[in-house]
């Protein structure tokens, strides 16, 4: 049964990928991209990688679809016919694909208990993390404690992306003329009422994902994206201006900076308490309680930084549209 599901999902993935490459209509392409991400998320679920599936669904199918849609609103809806020869790119793609297949021919079988990945570092994560870190969700233990420094890097990656977009778009002039105002969708009663019911629930769910990450799938990245999604939905229906009343540029900037500094700051505090960077054990007398505090704080930093960055990406893009 599982095999059948996998075959169907992968076949659909291939079909969607080919259709994406073939289509000239960019709007359709973006929607297909969203479907591609959703299918990938489903495959991750069937691989038992629920945390990854969660992120893929929230970021890949959710936020990035909206951001790319805002981009084509600024440019054009159809692809320009390409004048380049397809020969070289095709050759590169084929060579890459063949190499990948060649490389995976003798890889360990899926879920093979004797595979090196199951034998070396993983046993300690699986067996001892509950005693060393104290989190029921092993993924969270690895992500926020054993390899917390990587996660800090990932938060900085997102922050860097946000700063980069702002640097790029801050040069675009914002003209306020009669074409200026982005039409809100308040005159669609169904959208308006459904969103009014949904938004508080989405926010509540974001908080659940944020604080339940220790026990089940979830954590700061997913929660931040879901949190931002609620306000993006609000912005699309009630108008950007209304969203801006709360989330002005400088507030979002402060929030993003606060999130990043909260994460790095936890590391700096552990340094001053005499531990290694991000060694949460030193935060309190009790090691496990220290791990708990540390993970809580860094996940909070991730959530704040991600939500603020996503929201400001969306708002910055929308405001450029408003001026053209």
């Amino acid at each position: 049964m599982e095999q059948l599901i996998n075959v169907i999902l992968l076949a659909m993935l291939a079909i969607v990928a080919i259709a994406t490459a073939k289509l000239k209509d960019l709007f359709a392409t973006i929607i297909l991209f969203g479907i591609y991400s959703l299918l990938t998320a489903a495959i991750f679920v069937s691989l038992d990688a629920v945390d990854v599936a969660f992120t893929e669904a929230a970021v890949g199918a959710g936020i990035s679809t909206i951001l790319i849609l805002s981009t084509i609103a600024l440019t054009a809806r159809t692809e320009k016919p390409s004048t380049h020869s397809v020969f070289l790119p095709l050759l590169v793609v084929i060579v890459t694909g063949v190499t990948l297949v060649y490389g995976t021919l003798d890889m360990p079988g899926f879920a093979d208990p004797d595979a090196p990945v199951q034998q070396h570092v993983a046993p300690r994560y699986l067996n001892d993390s509950i005693n060393e870190v104290g989190m029921p969700n092993v993924v969270t233990s690895v992500l926020a404690s054993y390899r917390s420094y990587d996660t800090m890097g990932e938060v900085v990656v997102i922050f860097t992306a946000g700063i980069s977009v702002m640097l790029l778009l801050s040069s675009v002039k914002h003209r306020e003329d009669e074409l200026g105002n982005l039409k809100d969708l308040k005159h669609h009663p169904i959208l308006l009422y459904v969103s009014q019911i949904m938004i508080p629930l989405i926010l509540l769910f974001a908080l659940y994902v944020q604080f339940h990450g220790d026990f089940g799938p979830g954590g700061g990245f997913q929660a931040g994206v879901i949190f931002a999604a609620a306000f993006i939905l609000y912005g699309m229906i009630n108008g950007i201006d209304n969203t801006r009343k709360i989330f002005q540029n400088h507030i979002l900037r402060w929030l993003a900076v606060t999130g990043v500094i909260l994460y790095i700051g936890v590391g700096v505090v552990t340094l001053f308490l005499g531990g290694e960077f991000l060694n949460y054990n030193v935060l309190t007398e009790d090691n496990l309680a220290g791990q708990h505090y540390g993970i809580f704080l860094v996940e909070l930093g991730v959530g704040i930084a991600v939500a603020a960055t996503m929201l400001s990406l969306f708002l910055t893009f929308s405001e450029v549209r408003r001026s053209q």
């Binding site: 070396h120 640097l167 801050s170």
Partner: protein
């Protein structure tokens, strides 16, 4: 406390400073803040180099989790040496760069500019210092994304296309690196470099490992701008803001060369790396192609920034050539050139920043008579150019000397000839500049003055470093030699 946490502070100080820059407003404060952070990093790198000089290896366990379960910072002479290059180039470029930055970047964007600059800087340091293969990728992302944004800020609109081109190529490179790391993890179950080095020999027959090496090699070559994957580099350096060109030319590709060395020599090990693929021959051929073809492109170039960008591709060829010899002498020459080329190109691009500051472009046709209008700036270009050619008393000579010694030692007389021909071509394009600057009459009506004092000061600091390290080679040659011995596992 500070000295035992030096490895992590090396990266965390600029990483923490970057978001703080967003909150600062005044241009002078932003500049001073970034400069202080950069100088602090350089001091830390110097201390690390001292601590590792006698072959010591400093290991630092992030989060208190021992490797391979946690992430390890592992500093040996090679790490510390590259850290010092990156941090000192950044300090010198910032020291002189303020006027140029404020002229080329709008005031409203300055705080984001310095943020992106420090992020890029911290990213490069993070790649260099870490002992964890996946951590390399994370910091590579930080430095890459920040550098795309920095390049796009050039005043010429073509900066946007150049940044986009680099973004696509760089992303492909990073993805290849990630695939390579993923496959290594698949066959060993570890991400720690030291641990990988110990576990890889057991699986040396696996196709997966061979594929991982191929992907990693191509990915790093893209970031390194190894011929023929260099196509993103000339435009990126040409259209980026002057100071960004100077910073990236002196640091980014050097870090990529470091990553290549680290993976070839430490992780995969010489035995595997040079037998799984005919790596020595591949590197040698690509290096020769880079030296000859990129140097020729430089000769016909009209935009001086692009001229020096092509020359960078050629110079990277010299570094790769040194690696391909697989000998202590060859590796020493590569490591020397890593340092020396960073000094040359940073000096040259800083001098071009002066030209840009005064006349708004750096086209060959517009530097007629520049030797009279801006004698100090043009003097810097000439000395930097001579260093590029490899004239004695400059660092360029030292690099070429050791490279030729290595080629002779390996018995490749043809390669000696190629290095000499490469230098002659460099002489041709440097002479073209000299001819325009000194022997062509400029437009009499334009009587432009010399660039501001601060810019000249930064430029000349770098120019003097070109001469100083061309005469007193005890620091550079000593470190390069002992590092080469360490990498090849030869006891001194």
């Amino acid at each position: 406390m500070i000295s035992s946490h030096l490895p992590v502070l090396q990266v965390v100080v600029p990483l923490l400073a970057a978001p703080l820059c967003v909150l600062l407003k005044r241009p002078a404060v932003l500049w001073a803040f970034s400069l202080i952070v950069s100088i602090l990093s350089a001091v830390m790198a110097y201390l690390l180099l001292q601590q590792t000089a006698d072959g010591n290896i400093i290991s630092y366990a992030m989060g208190g989790w021992a490797a391979p379960w946690g992430i390890e910072y592992r500093v040996d002479t090679l790490n510390a040496y590259v850290l010092l290059i990156v941090a000192s180039i950044s300090s010198l470029v910032l020291l002189g760069g303020r006027k140029s930055i404020e002229k080329e970047i709008e005031t409203a964007r300055l705080s984001h500019f310095y943020t992106a600059y420090l992020l890029c800087f911290a990213g490069l340091l993070g790649i260099t210092i870490t002992g964890d293969a996946f951590n390399v990728f994370v910091f590579l992302e930080i430095s890459s994304i920040a550098s795309y944004a920095l390049i796009s800020l050039g005043r010429d609109r073509r900066a946007l296309t150049a940044a986009y081109q680099y973004l696509i190529m760089g992303t492909i490179g990073a993805t290849f690196i990630l695939i390579g790391i993923g496959m290594m993890y698949m066959v060993t179950g570890t991400l720690n470099m030291h641990d990988l080095a110990q576990r890889l020999p057991e699986v040396s027959n696996s196709r997966t490992l061979m594929t991982s090496f191929a992907f990693l090699f191509v990915g790093v070559s893209l970031k390194l701008a190894l011929f023929p994957l260099h196509l993103w580099l000339p435009n990126a350096y040409t259209y980026a803001p002057s100071i960004v060109s100077a910073f990236l030319a002196g640091t980014a590709t050097k870090v990529a060369v470091y990553v290549l060395m680290r993976f070839i020599f430490t992780v995969y090990g010489i035995e595997y790396a040079f037998t799984a693929l005919p790596l020595s021959a591949i590197l040698m051929l690509l290096a020769i192609a880079a030296i000859m073809l990129a140097s020729m492109s430089a000769v016909y170039e009209d935009n001086i920034k692009r001229l020096f960008a092509y020359s960078s591709v050629a110079q990277l060829g010299y570094m790769v050539l040194g690696i391909s010899f697989l000998s202590v002498a060859g590796l020493t020459s590569s490591l020397l050139h890593l340092f020396n080329h960073a000094l040359m190109k940073a000096a040259l691009f800083m001098a071009l920043a002066c030209v840009m500051y005064q006349q708004g472009n750096v086209l060959m046709g517009n530097i007629k008579g520049l030797g009279k209008r801006m004698p100090w700036t043009f003097g810097a270009i000439v000395i930097g150019g001579l260093s590029l050619v490899g004239v004695p008393l400059t660092v360029g000579f030292i690099s070429k000397w050791y490279l030729i010694l290595a080629a002779i030692e390996a018995g490749h007389m043809l390669l000696v000839a190629i290095v000499l021909v490469g230098s002659l071509i460099a002489l041709v394009y440097v002479w073209k500049l000299v001819e325009q600057g000194y022997f062509q009459e400029g437009d009499e009506k334009i009587t432009k003055q010399e660039a501001p004092m601060s810019l000249l000061l930064g430029t000349w600091f770098l120019v003097l470093a070109n001469i100083y390290f061309g005469i007193d080679t005890s620091l550079t040659v000593g470190v390069a030699e002992s590092t080469a011995q360490q990498l090849l596992g030869v006891s001194p």
